[in-house]
């Protein structure tokens, strides 16, 4: 259900779980959270990517990043960062020098149109070091901690459903089904939220009823 996914996304943004990858003048970095991004001293020429975007976007196009970068004159219309296989250094150069230095392996394209969805920035050495089969994209969150907390503290068996979804996230991710893993991650997060919110909402009602019964 898209509305639940939106809630999860909004919450993940509020609590700064959102991670950004950055391509600034051909130099890639990330993942960083919003605070980390602000410390990078980016300019409006930077490109960013986060989970859910189908491709790199200019940093100026993301409203939540307003003020996280410095405006610079951008008359040349910098091309988007090339695909991960290309030479990132060459991309950032002035377009005028481009025809002299062809990108290895593929012809130069000034504006790469819609590429395959969920393509990740070039390298993620920190995740590539794990025994996970797909180093290109980190495993979506399993929400295991929240599932355990809601199971042992919230008095609602909904936490158990969340644990089941936590197992699905990792196993689907390892089977290469990244889309399925993302769905399982969001569904599990929703069960955690439901469990915790119901537990919190129920508490004042229960107290009122018990106080009324005592009097």
């Amino acid at each position: 259900m898209p509305i639940f996914a939106t809630i999860v996304k909004k919450l993940s943004f509020i609590f700064k779980i959102m991670q950004y990858w950055i391509n600034h003048n051909g130099v890639q970095s990330g993942p960083v959270d919003l605070d980390g991004l602000k410390q990078l001293g980016l300019t409006s020429a930077a490109y960013v990517w986060h989970e859910g975007l189908s491709d790199w976007v200019k940093i100026t196009q993301l409203p939540e990043l307003q003020g996280a970068y410095e405006m610079v004159a951008d008359g040349t219309g910098q091309p988007q960062p090339a695909s991960p296989q290309g030479e990132p250094r060459a991309v950032a150069q002035e377009p005028a020098t481009r025809p002299d230095e062809p990108v290895v392996g593929q012809p130069y394209q000034p504006q790469q149109p819609a590429q395959q969805p969920y393509r990740q920035p070039a390298q993620q050495p920190q995740y590539a070091a794990t025994d996970q089969p797909s180093p290109a994209e980190p495993c979506p969150p399993t929400n295991l901690v929240w599932a355990i907390i809601s199971t042992v503290l919230c008095c609602l068996p909904a936490g158990i459903v969340a644990i089941v979804y936590a197992t699905k996230v990792t196993s689907k991710y390892r089977a290469g089904d990244i889309e399925g893993a993302k769905r399982a991650s969001e569904t599990g997060a929703w069960w955690c939220i439901a469990s915790i919110v119901l537990g919190i909402l129920y508490t004042p009602f229960a107290m009122l009823i018990q106080t009324a019964l005592m009097n």
Binding site: D131, V145, C155, L156, P157, G159, Y202
Partner: protein, 124 residues
């Protein structure tokens, strides 16, 4: 800045909750909510007794906490390790991957289901 605000709020909430659960005994006071699952089905859920267990833990009475909800005592170190791995995910991805391995989560799930079943059979 917003992140530090969230942390301050969470710590404040935990302190208030901790004080309430320290000062009032859930097994004596009627002000604590009873488990919905227990109320409507008559069976204990895996989390039943955790309020009394937290009260006992805050008073340093580990034996009583063990008696009220054994699973809570098992879960607390697990949660701590998972949170640690989560915060170290970029510098130590292997630990995070190990902890979130399906086999381990399935084992934990089996443990909770077993606990749920046994506590209702033996009235733990």
């Amino acid at each position: 800045m917003r992140r530090s605000l969230v942390i301050v709020l969470v710590v404040a909430l935990l302190l208030v909750l901790g004080f309430i659960y320290y000062a009032l005994d859930p097994s004596q006071s009627g002000f604590f909510p009873r488990c919905i699952f227990l109320e409507y089905t008559g069976y204990k859920c895996p989390g039943c007794g955790s309020q009394r267990a937290v009260h006992a833990l805050l008073h340093g009475d580990v034996a009583a906490a063990f008696h009220y909800n054994t699973m809570l005592l098992v879960a607390i170190p697990w949660i701590a390790v998972c949170l640690f791995a989560e915060s170290r995910r970029t510098s130590n991805p292997r630990l995070y991957a190990r902890l979130n391995a399906p086999l381990l989560i399935w084992l934990f799930l089996a443990l909770i289901l077993l606990w749920w079943l046994l506590r209702n059979i033996f009235n733990w």
